[in-house]
Subunit: 265 residues, 2 copies
């Protein structure tokens, strides 16, 4: 099985991703986990409920996933992007099944306890609908794959009480990998690979060893640190081969498999 | 298997439907086909793409399902309503899987050839993304049900070329019934049952025979005629027992099974 993570930026060439996967040689079962953050921001804005960012006492910025934010996720990730992606696969002859983590409890998580925020002189706990994935329903994923269906997954995931919660796709990939033990994982982003200098697209690192992953994680902060932590965890879950590659090119998957981008491991 | 069709009006008591189905006695596998038209109109309005109604040369009014309209369907039916419904089921302990007709080609249809409309003195063919269901992927429905999952279905369906198309839930129920041969079908609407006089809620017909179904269909027009045609077809597909009941009450499913509403057949 090949796991393909497709970023949610506006620049990702979705049609290219679908066409590459529909014509994989040799044929191989795959599953897709996709984002839709650009679309979500757009939909939330139009609906008059733009995303709310809160800063925790410890200085982290987080998007607050209140009920409106989950509605926007359901419309943009689970609805529009997921089903248009399934449609593209169906047009290309791939029998895709679009699912959120709620469906069949395919991605089960634990809801966050809340974010500690300062409001004036007080410290408050703001609780929202977000959390961390804990496990994947590998039985259902396998049932679908073994019967010829291609799972196409998006947030939200389901919490311990059955509620829809927001979560990070990097963490979702980790719990899927823990169960599926895929040979290869491709992550398609809006950059030509993992950049040594985030502001310089020519600084792609062709090969990132596991030792380097650890040292870079220790030296980084913010979103990059979270990304590197998730990658580290992916190898602990048994990943053999992770490719971070450009999702904006004509053949995102083909190029990634041909050695473009960053090979991690 | 019990098939439950849940109307898409704003007055339907979704929580009541879910709680009744989660506590069915005796337990019985079921599947849900739901609408979301009130939500769709609301979302389309907010997104600045309100629904467009065209009148055919022969005098029928139809909503034009252009690309924007399908986007609105994907957001409201496939996204927001479908996944909030799945969430309610998960919270109630039912392992629901929300799907559109695109997913696994579960509802396959044929795209309409177009609507003949007058524009000034000319007659034009307006082609949109709408069509009629032809068959259901009973293998996938059965695979899910046999493995303990509850399918929760919504539009769009998939056309012969893999495109997402709009369709009528009454017709979708018919192709599902043709494959599943359910014992009972419950249709929950925003009325206490099938009304003799559409403007008078006290005119519920307690029992509608198949002969009467035919004679009423011949005497009716518009939306009611389409509804009656679909009901007639449902019996041709082997339905044994159809109950049309009030979706607005505290216990929509329990009341329907207790004999409230209209028993057709």
């Amino acid at each position: 099985v090949l796991i393909v993570k497709v970023g949610g930026g506006a620049g990702i060439n979705i049609e290219g991703v679908v066409n590459d996967l529909a014509t994989l040689e040799p044929k191989e079962p795959f599953l897709v986990v996709h984002g839709a953050n650009a679309l979500r921001d757009d939909v939330a804005e139009k609906l008059g409920t733009p995303k709310e960012v809160v800063t925790s006492v410890s200085g982290y910025d987080s998007v607050l996933s209140d009920e409106n934010a989950i509605d926007a996720i359901l419309m943009s990730y689970s609805g529009l992007r997921n089903k248009r992606l399934v449609e593209l696969f169906q047009r290309a002859g791939v029998n895709a099944v679009g699912l959120t983590g709620l469906d069949g409890r395919i991605i089960q998580g634990r809801r966050n306890k809340g974010i500690r925020v300062k409001e004036g002189s007080k410290t408050l706990i703001k609780r929202d609908f977000s959390g961390k994935p804990v496990s994947a329903n590998v039985d259902l994923l396998t049932l679908l794959i073994d019967n010829g269906y291609t799972p196409v997954l998006a947030i939200p995931i389901v919490d311990e009480n059955g509620f829809a919660i927001n979560s990070e796709n990097d963490d979702i990939i980790n719990v899927i990998q823990a169960g599926l033990k895929a040979d290869r994982i491709i992550q398609l982003i809006e950059a030509p690979g993992f950049l040594d200098d985030a502001s310089d697209e020519s600084s792609v690192i062709a090969r990132l060893s596991r030792a380097e992953l650890v040292s870079r994680e220790e030296a980084s902060s913010g979103r990059i640190k979270r990304k590197l932590l998730a990658l580290n965890k992916l190898f602990q879950e048994g990943a053999a081969n992770v490719i971070i590659a450009d999702g904006r090119v004509e053949h995102p998957v083909r190029d990634a498999l041909d050695g473009h981008g960053t090979i991690v491991g």
